[in-house]
């Protein structure tokens, strides 16, 4: 009867030994290779720091003008431009300008990283069912595993700071980029692809002239999701030393500062809405050819 009521788990000692063994071997690994791995990420750190400095040293009117200009180029919507200007003005008014610049630079760098890593992986997945069957479960894990769990090895390996924070954000935010690139390319009309073959396109020409342009609306939905998820990760990443709007939120949570939490939270929401509207309306403008007829 005991067999049925008690799960035949491993013994307490066995489990402890197992955990210790895993911990110890990872500690050894990070002691051995930690510095080298840190060195690999050094250019990324320099870029991150440089970009953050650039944003923070830019005079605020110039920054607002540049962002509004980008918003106009991407969306061609005066409403979005005005909304952007007002949001940044309010953020500055409530004394959150510097933190916001840190967060914007973090989001920008992580989005760039997600695109430059995620796009090729998505393309690879779309070309081979085998690659897809390998990558899909990894993405499932990345999206469902609680983010605190992978913060542990990242911190053990790289310590606390911007780069581990960036890695945590990228792990969290890259899956939609990869998935939607893969999906978008797989959805490209097979007849158009056949035409490309019939005119003698090589695989690269097929990819650049047909597959990516036709997958672009989906790819852009992926970029949009990636930006949104990076922003959502900002607060958690502040736990391991990422500066920006997340840190005051963290402070507000631990000290029960309601107003502080609200202000910074609202600033994150404002950024999210701005980025979302701009990237979405750009994505829609890419599909302009689909209007009229058909």
């Amino acid at each position: 009867m005991e067999f049925l009521t008690e799960f035949p788990a491993l013994g307490r000692r066995d489990l402890r030994d197992l955990r210790l063994a895993i911990d110890q071997s990872f500690k050894n690994f990070s002691r051995e290779y930690g510095e080298q791995i840190e060195a690999i990420f050094d250019p990324l750190l320099q870029f991150l720091i440089g970009f953050e400095r650039l944003l923070q040293s830019t005079p605020w009117p110039v920054f607002i003008a540049v962002v509004c200009g980008l918003a106009w180029l991407a969306s061609r919507s005066i409403r979005i431009v005005i909304g952007t200007a007002i949001s940044f003005y309010l953020i500055g008014l409530f004394g959150m300008w510097e933190d916001t610049m840190s967060t914007v630079s973090m989001i920008a760098v992580s989005t760039l990283l997600c695109i430059s890593v995620g796009l090729p992986i998505g393309v690879l997945m779309s070309r081979s069912d085998r690659a897809q069957s390998i990558v899909t479960p990894i993405l499932d894990v990345m999206q469902t595993i609680p983010s605190f769990v992978y913060l542990i090895p990242v911190v053990m390996l790289l310590g606390i700071g911007k780069v581990p924070g960036l890695i945590a954000v990228v792990i969290y935010a890259i899956p939609p980029m990869i998935r939607l690139t893969n999906l978008g390319i797989r959805l490209v009309d097979s007849e158009v692809l056949e035409a490309a073959d019939a005119f003698g396109a090589n695989p690269w020409q097929r990819l650049i002239q047909v597959q990516i342009p036709l997958a672009l609306p989906n790819i852009f939905a992926g970029v949009n999701q990636t930006i949104m998820m990076s922003l959502a990760m900002v607060v958690i990443a502040s736990m391991i030393g990422v500066t920006g709007l997340g840190q005051p939120v963290l402070k507000a949570v631990s000290n029960q500062y309601l107003a502080m939490g609200l202000f910074n939270g609202m600033a994150i929401v404002a950024l999210a809405i701005i980025f979302d509207r701009i990237s979405q309306s750009y994505g829609q403008r890419l599909q302009k050819f689909r209007q009229n007829g058909q």
């Binding site: 158009v192 056949e194 073959d197 005119f199 003698g200 090589n202 050819f289």
Partner: protein
């Protein structure tokens, strides 16, 4: 027509079997296993069954068949979009199936272009950019490609629509873009896969006229797939009829209409307007000196009937290319040729 032309494309004992292990099925098919048995017992589909076809240079070869007959599969073997299970496709003395990947790409870029049933245009590119597509792949400079594309857009009657997107055009106009795109590469072989089947009847006739007009000047080797016998008779110099992956008859439009090889083809041809297929030299009788308008031997019976009716004489004199009289027809012959009854008995040799 036909025998005096050189062969451009020669398809030799071509087989295509779809399924998990086509090579293993080849022997059974060669030994005469039917399509049905192959499907029922071995779960393989016999797409093409021993196709042998000689396609003349500078002519329009129509391949006609109903859906499932294998005609679209066949045309895709010519530029090897589909690999055969067995067989050869010779074009100007080169076997397409022995080409390396890069040779094949070159062949597709320079030698054979294709027009598709559902147009297959790039929706994110304008008419001009679509027409330039093949040239871009060839690596032509943008300026030259643009010039050439503009020329062909004008030739297919789309001048003024260069900056429109395909989604803004009607089906007929989209297929003109498809045609311009195919012609722009300057390939000497044009593969047309049910190119006009998706169009309304009136627009289809328009497109047939455009094609015939262009062909009279360009003299390309055209392989044209269709399921419509009227279309086949109208534009084909030669017609091959495909059924269940097999060529059941090939010949000129007149041969198909006047001497259908079996009941299946006879069924098809029964409702055809013979006056638009049969030519004077087919039904003429020896010259008996009767006066009348002088007509070309290649003239269609229907057109001749019109002219003879309008003339004071009830006869027409049939002339050859050197303006020599080679025979006569009278109005009764013309009417008899257009009527449906079996006239095979009256025509010994075609």
């Amino acid at each position: 027509m036909g025998s005096n032309m050189t062969t451009k494309i020669e398809i030799k004992s071509l087989y295509k079997i779809f399924g998990s292990d086509p090579a293993a099925m080849m022997e059974k098919v060669r030994d005469g296993m039917t399509k049905e048995r192959l499907n029922d017992e071995y779960n393989h589909v016999l797409g093409l069954n021993n196709i042998n076809l000689e396609i003349p240079e500078q002519g329009i070869q129509v391949v006609m068949g109903l859906s499932g007959s294998g005609k679209s599969t066949l045309i895709r073997h010519i530029n090897r979009l589909i690999e055969p299970t067995s067989g050869e496709v010779w074009i100007d003395g080169v076997n397409v199936l022995s080409m390396s990947e890069s040779e094949l790409r070159d062949f597709r870029r320079q030698r054979a272009s294709m027009v598709f049933q559902k147009f297959a245009l790039l929706p994110h590119r304008t008419v001009l950019e679509n027409t330039q597509y093949g040239l871009e792949i060839q690596g032509m400079s943008d300026k030259e490609a643009r010039q050439r594309a503009c020329h062909w857009i004008e030739r297919v009657g789309l001048a003024g629509y260069e900056e429109n997107y395909p989604g803004q055009l009607s089906g007929g106009m989209q297929q003109r873009v498809g045609l311009a795109r195919a012609l722009a590469t300057d390939a000497d072989i044009l593969l047309m896969d049910e190119a006009f089947s998706a169009l309304d009847p009136l627009i289809r006739t328009d497109m047939q006229n455009i094609l015939l007009d262009l062909q009279s000047e360009l003299k390309k080797t055209i392989v044209f797939i269709t399921h419509d016998l009227e279309e086949a008779l109208r534009i084909g110099d030669r017609i091959a009829i495909l059924r269940d992956g097999r060529v059941i008859q090939q010949g000129t439009p007149q041969q198909i209409v006047l001497k259908p090889k079996d009941d299946y083809i006879a069924d098809f041809t029964r409702d055809i307007n013979r006056g638009r297929v049969i030519r004077l030299k087919t039904i003429m009788k020896p010259d008996n000196g009767q006066p009348g308008p002088e007509l070309s031997g290649d003239m269609l019976v229907e057109d001749a009937a019109q002219l003879v009716t309008d003339s004071p004489s009830s006869h027409a004199r049939v002339m050859d290319g050197d303006s020599q009289c080679v025979g006569v027809v009278n109005i009764t012959d013309l009417i008899r040729a257009m009527a449906r009854p079996d006239i095979e008995s009256r025509i010994e040799d075609l």
